[in-house]
């Protein structure tokens, strides 16, 4: 059941300072989760146990929660908790997750530009430096390759740093350290040194930020062996993924989106940690599987409203885990609907969608009734002008048209 999902969180949170009975909690919250939000979490298992310690829990007990599809939420920002919970914005959720982990483990530290007293360019680390001191929330000079390298060196010596790139695009400067060292040193050292870093920052197309500040780095990083990539899209999964990433012993890149920081949602009061390799069922359906992540999830849900009015029943999955793909959830969905639409913000060439298309074709070819459609941005640098910028990003009408074409 989805209780297993919750138990995953419980197992890892058992060691926290939570004094309540986690197991009991997770059950009740999962019930209301099903009732109100209908975003049931499928326990998938392709066997990938990348989080140390989750091996026995989120095991091979894979089954789709079918009775969760009864009520369909049409906005992603529906409330989730069994208890009242509390409302907050996405960047606050990230901060809450970060703060909880810093409280829990003294080895967790943050480094990046302006993260200390300035509180971070997007306020994710606001208030942490006064609380934990200058050393644990470290302001660095402007040299991305170097402070990423610094984080890697600190991680090899036992710390658990979170490296913040002010904008994902700047992490291109850190590519050397991320590819050649972050992803590799655990392997090349024969397992002697591990690199439990979290590299995070905002990316994606914003509002007229210009080409250099609108990069989709997930395309470039996806090939690097040794790293994991996740993308958050709601305050709920932002906090859960942040915590999971920090607890993971693998290097994890957490992709946030510039435009999603002010999303508001009610999240549970109790502690929870999500699974890094799981996709999220946003809206169960029958006719077509729409795979998306990050900001595009909202464009898809908007299109879904139109589609429902037109009589379609789309199944929307927020893939969340960009490396590795949650082929279990995705596969189950394809086996049900036989039609796939991928909606992404990456460029046409070499993006996440391209890899996902290949993975699906390889694994689920027999289940497809139609060729996979992948909607992506064009292969152009993102223009500054507002109208042009809007046209480089996939818009809901295009999604509706694609579904109609798929379901012909």
């Amino acid at each position: 059941m989805s209780s297993i999902f919750q138990a995953v969180g419980a197992a890892t949170s058992l060691s926290s300072s939570a004094s309540f009975d986690t197991k009991k909690f997770q059950f009740s919250s999962s019930r209301s989760l099903l009732g109100k939000r209908a975003s049931c979490v499928v326990v998938r298992c392709s066997g990938a146990k990348m989080d140390g310690g989750l091996n026995q829990i989120g095991g091979r007990a894979d089954h789709l929660v079918t009775n969760a599809v009864a009520t369909k939420a049409d906005t992603p920002a529906a409330s989730t908790a069994s208890k009242p919970g509390h409302e907050l914005l996405l960047f606050e959720a990230l901060r809450e997750g970060l703060e909880e982990e810093m409280e829990r483990d003294a080895r967790v530290c943050v480094m990046g530009e302006d993260v200390g007293h300035y509180g971070g360019s997007y306020k994710v680390t606001k208030g942490l430096a006064p609380k934990y001191g200058d050393l644990r929330v470290l302001d660095t000079p402007i040299a991305e390759n170097s402070f990423t390298g610094m984080g890697i060196g600190a991680a090899m010596m036992g710390l658990r740093p979170i490296i913040e790139g002010m904008n994902m695009g700047f992490l291109l400067l850190a590519f050397n350290q991320i590819s050649n060292n972050c992803g590799m040193l655990h392997y090349t050292s024969g397992g002697q040194f591990k690199i439990p870093v979290v590299i995070r920052g905002p990316g994606g197309v914003g509002r007229q930020l210009g080409a250099e500040h609108s990069q989709r780095l997930e395309s470039y990083f996806q090939s690097i062996p040794g790293i994991q990539m996740v993308a958050c899209s709601t305050p709920y999964n932002a906090k859960g993924l942040m915590k999971a990433a920090i607890r993971s012993d693998n290097p994890v890149i957490l992709f946030e989106h510039v435009l999603l920081y002010n999303l508001k949602e009610r999240i549970p009061d109790e502690e929870y940690v999500l699974n890094l390799e799981e996709a999220e069922m946003v809206r169960p359906g029958e006719h077509v599987t729409i795979l998306t992540y990050s900001r595009m999830r909202y464009h898809v849900m908007q299109a879904a409203k139109t589609l429902v009015n037109k009589g379609y029943d789309p199944e929307v999955i927020d893939i969340r885990s960009l490396k590795p793909f949650d082929l279990h959830t995705i596969g189950n969905s394809i086996k049900k609907t036989h039609r796939v639409l991928i909606v992404e913000e990456c460029m046409r060439t070499g993006g996440i969608g391209a890899s996902l298309t290949a993975a699906i074709t390889e694994n689920f070819h027999d289940y497809l009734d139609a060729p996979i459609i992948c909607l992506s941005s064009q292969d152009v640098p993102t223009p500054y002008a507002g109208t042009l910028e809007e046209w480089t990003v996939v818009q809901p009408p295009q999604i509706v048209a694609a579904v109609e074409q798929l379901c012909r």
Binding site: S46, M150, N181, L185, S189, G190, Q192, F193
Partner: protein, 474 residues
């Protein structure tokens, strides 16, 4: 002028922030009367000398005096209140020269014949340490010789020798404590040797067999050992420098009585990471010792084509880091400098830079033939008259701690040991197929398990197309 605050606060503020932070060396020289340097240093020093004394002189009586009443041009020169400290103005437009006429001096203890130049060497070395240092140098030389030959015979694919740099290797290693974390570049196997890494372990790494700590995943000379506090070598240049700052930051957070020591070459100092790393270390105030092996060549690029500064030692000052230049072929000088640097780094929690002038006697690697781009006489000169091993041998033998007979015996024994290690390593099985897929992540994920299965199936089906000495497992 009006910006000057009357009284001691102004003067001490100036000396503390400006002088102490940026011109430490100047301050010490300001008190010296005789100046040896030409150029801007002298003028500025005189100015600051008079400036300081004048300030102190006038501060006593000047509490309520009118600052504008001066009879000297110097008094009228104002200072700028700028973030980071006060900056004195000058009426003279003077460019800091790109370089000084005289190069930064090089610290040495022994001369080319192994005679101590000063009657009181700073650090006392006892017989045990000296013999360990010397035998370490000989071992390194022997290992390099045998393994280089082995590569030429086709037994391993690649190797990098450290000929000519034995003193930097062993001298620095001897000055460190086992808790000090080392981030090498690749030409410092002597540090591992000193710390107890065995010859067999080295050779296993070169052959990439199943006993290799790295499990056969890295090239020869890209070693690392958690147990010995030496972080695994990563091939791209200078990546270890920012990581060293991170490691030092971690030591600082844990309040450890240890420092980080990281090595790099002259060519590596051109990389961006070098500059950012020095800058970071200075700003974050972490305990780290940078040791630059300036060996004159970066593959075929001589230092004159690598940078135009006076070596690397002057770059430290640009970042606010105390630096020293030492004779890298004088093991005692290296030892002394590293001991002092380490002490400074840990007690003051700050970075220190050491530039060791030495020479790369061997080729850059087995893929290089350095006779193509440098004169044979140059190589010979450094090999014979400036050989760090012979220089120290003379010193050790004169002390009565070593003899010719010990020398020939030791060399013969060590050579046999290395050859034996090669023979053993050659016969040892390679790391099994599973190790190709493990340690990529903490636990092997499903896609890699699939790929492993596929690979094993392929090998089973076409065994003749795959190497025989790699155990396949189940």
């Amino acid at each position: 002028m009006a910006l000057w605050l009357a009284g001691t606060r102004g003067a001490t503020y100036y000396t503390k922030t400006l002088m102490s932070n940026t011109f430490r060396s100047l301050r010490t020289r300001a008190t010296a009367i005789a100046s040896k340097d030409e150029g801007s240093f002298t003028k500025r020093q005189i100015l600051s000398n008079r400036f300081v004394s004048r300030r102190f002189g006038s501060s006593v009586a000047g509490q309520q005096s009118d600052l504008f009443s001066s009879d000297d041009d110097e008094e009228k020169i104002q200072a700028l209140d700028f973030p980071g400290g006060r900056v004195p103005y000058t009426l003279e437009m003077r460019f800091l020269p790109g370089s000084s006429d005289k190069r930064v001096e090089c610290y040495r203890v022994l001369d080319d014949d192994g005679y101590p130049l000063s009657s009181a060497p700073s650090q006392h070395i006892d017989k045990e340490v000296a013999v360990k240092m010397y035998s370490g140098m000989v071992t390194l030389e022997a290992m390099d010789t045998v393994i280089y030959e082995a590569q030429r015979q086709g037994r391993i694919s690649f190797y990098m020798t450290s000929f000519g740099e034995e003193a930097v290797n062993l001298g620095s290693a001897a000055a460190l404590s086992p808790d000090d974390v080392v981030l090498p570049q690749y030409r410092e196997p002597g540090v591992m040797l000193w710390r107890g890494f065995q010859l067999q372990e080295f050779v296993d790494q070169f052959f990439g067999n199943k006993n290799d700590l790295g499990k056969g995943r890295q090239m020869p000379t890209h070693y690392g050992s958690n147990k010995h506090n030496v972080l695994t070598v990563s091939a791209p240049l200078a990546t270890q420098l920012p990581q060293a700052v991170g490691a030092a930051y971690s030591l600082k957070m844990q309040n450890k009585d240890a420092c980080v020591v990281t090595y790099f070459g002259d060519g590596c100092s051109s990389e961006g990471d070098f500059h950012a790393s020095l800058n970071f270390a200075a700003v974050l105030e972490v305990p780290i010792v940078y040791i630059c092996r300036n060996n004159g060549w970066a593959i075929s690029t001589p230092v004159t084509e690598q940078f135009r500064s006076d070596g690397i030692v002057v770059k430290g000052q640009a970042y606010g880091i105390p630096s020293i230049r030492v004779d890298g072929n004088d093991i005692l000088a290296v030892y002394n400098a590293v001991v002092a640097a380490r002490e400074m780094a840990i007690s003051e929690q700050r970075p220190v830079l050491i530039e060791a002038l030495t020479y790369r006697v061997g080729h850059h690697s087995t893929s290089d033939d350095s006779t193509k781009y440098r004169p044979l006489e140059e190589i010979e000169h450094w090999k014979t008259s400036r050989n760090p091993v012979s220089i120290f041998r003379k010193w050790v033998q004169r002390k009565g701690w070593w003899s010719d007979q010990q020398e020939s015996e030791f060399r013969a024994t060590i050579r046999k040991q290395v050859i034996h290690a090669v023979q053993v390593a050659e016969k040892t099985q390679k790391a099994p197929i599973e190790t190709m897929f493990s340690d990529v992540y903490e636990k092997v994920p499903s896609n890699l398990m699939e790929q492993e299965k596929l690979l094993k199936e392929t090998i089973k089906r076409y065994p003749q197309d795959f190497p025989k000495d790699v155990p396949i497992g189940m």
